[in-house]
Symmetry: C2
Subunit: 259 residues, 2 copies
């Protein structure tokens, strides 16, 4: 155990938004979405805690093509986070302290998700909580967040907004939740953001068009930062008049504001 001064830090390393969707991800340019300094920090880290080790290795190959890794990829220590159910509220705490052992020995650690910022709409928060508890400094880095890019592109209220994660899969429960969100949005003039597993994009869209009021503003962002990514914001009435079919293999962010 080292003193606070010589402990390693926990870097929160943002990932691109394209791994889940593109077979050509390895050819995409990392500098579209990541600052050079973030790539430089990633190139130096030898200890990783990852949502997914395989996509982390692919990420590090892309890093290496911009800034050579300080050590061979094969020699890096990449450990996977215990994976909670997406949307689960509480992660297991017990085994996480061990993942921070390298920091207690003086080595910096990188935490990385499959896409976007770690610990936002993704596992990882419990590891960050453990870092605070153990006195390991937490260093967030700048990178793409599909949620906030979708919010800024929506034109809906960015002064007050909430992200509620995934809606219930059960149709009746989903309708109840959508009406709750619409009421909350109206009461607080708060934009409500949510995501869905891509193959259920179209089902969520259909549920929104049948559950929400005609004047409710609905924004959908699909494939942001990818070739052909788009954002459409319209009233529910206009979405019904001119529907847009959503792809079943590209992540989308949904936002509603009841005005």
């Amino acid at each position: 155990m080292t003193s606070l001064q010589t402990r390693g830090k926990l870097y929160l390393v943002p990932n691109t938004l394209d791994f889940a969707v593109s077979a050509d991800a390895a050819h995409a340019d990392l500098q579209t979405v990541l600052p050079l300094q973030v790539i430089q920090i990633a190139a130096r880290l030898t200890q990783w805690v990852a949502e997914n080790a395989k996509t982390t290795r692919a990420f590090l190959k892309r890093v290496d093509s911009v800034v050579p890794l300080s050590q061979a990829l094969q020699s890096l220590n990449i450990v996977e986070l215990p994976r909670p159910q997406k949307g689960a509220k509480v992660a297991v705490r017990a085994p996480l302290d061990g993942l921070l052992a390298p920091a207690l020995q003086g080595l910096n650690i990188g935490l990385i998700s499959e896409a976007g910022l770690p610990a936002v709409a993704d596992p990882g928060a419990a590891l960050v909580e453990a870092a605070h508890r153990l006195g390991v400094l937490v260093m967030p880095l700048s990178g793409p967040s599909s949620l906030l890019m979708a919010l800024s592109a929506s034109g809906l209220n960015g002064q007050s907004f909430a992200f509620v994660g995934y809606l219930p899969v059960d149709a009746a429960q989903r309708t109840i939740k959508l009406r709750e969100l619409e009421a909350m949005s109206r009461r607080h003039q708060q934009t409500q953001l949510m995501i869905e597993t891509p193959y259920r994009n179209q089902a969520l869209m259909a549920a929104m068009l049948s559950s929400l009021g005609a004047n409710c503003q609905l924004s959908v962002s699909c494939g942001l930062t990818l070739q052909g990514g788009w954002t459409r914001t319209d009233s529910v009435a206009l979405w019904k008049q001119r529907p847009t079919h959503l792809p079943n293999d590209i992540p989308a962010v949904f936002a509603l504001l009841s005005v």
Copy 2:
């Protein structure tokens, strides 16, 4: 008026997080927080709508030092957004359409805030809404968001969170609002994020420590992406035992989660 195909786009250009706080901002490295591609896009834009023209010119000088501007800074068209009160819910719509005239003539426009992502916790959403209405494509770009960096660094729940902007200045109203947020956080297990004008950082902190329950988790991020930036997460009880004095000239993000 051009056809949809030949219209210009509205790029949402992220800014650094340091203008409001650093006299040496011009010397800071843009590539700490911005992807090279974003800098390249900014270097080519000749039409700007800005929260603040002066800081936009300073930003563009920094862009120029990485990627030469396509036109002399003096020849760029930089128009300021009409400035709503911070936290105001409704912006004036009438004059905004005119700001998009260059796009209707085929020129790309950049929208930029004084810090972070445009239209998030900042004016600009009304311009984005006008773009959607006029058929101008909206292109959000990857960059730093102090809100989401603070959330990821907090270790609090990132699967459900809300940003509520500024709290009331009046002490009694602020206490009521803080208790409402704590109750909301407990009910939905939702992290509640807020910001304050830096000179009131310490007043908000004092109000939190006196209004919130001892077990409420409180996270403060101060000066993220700046030299010496930090995040501390502890229970209200521990913050009271070991207070941290907050600077009155550096923006902070406050987050609470009632567990």
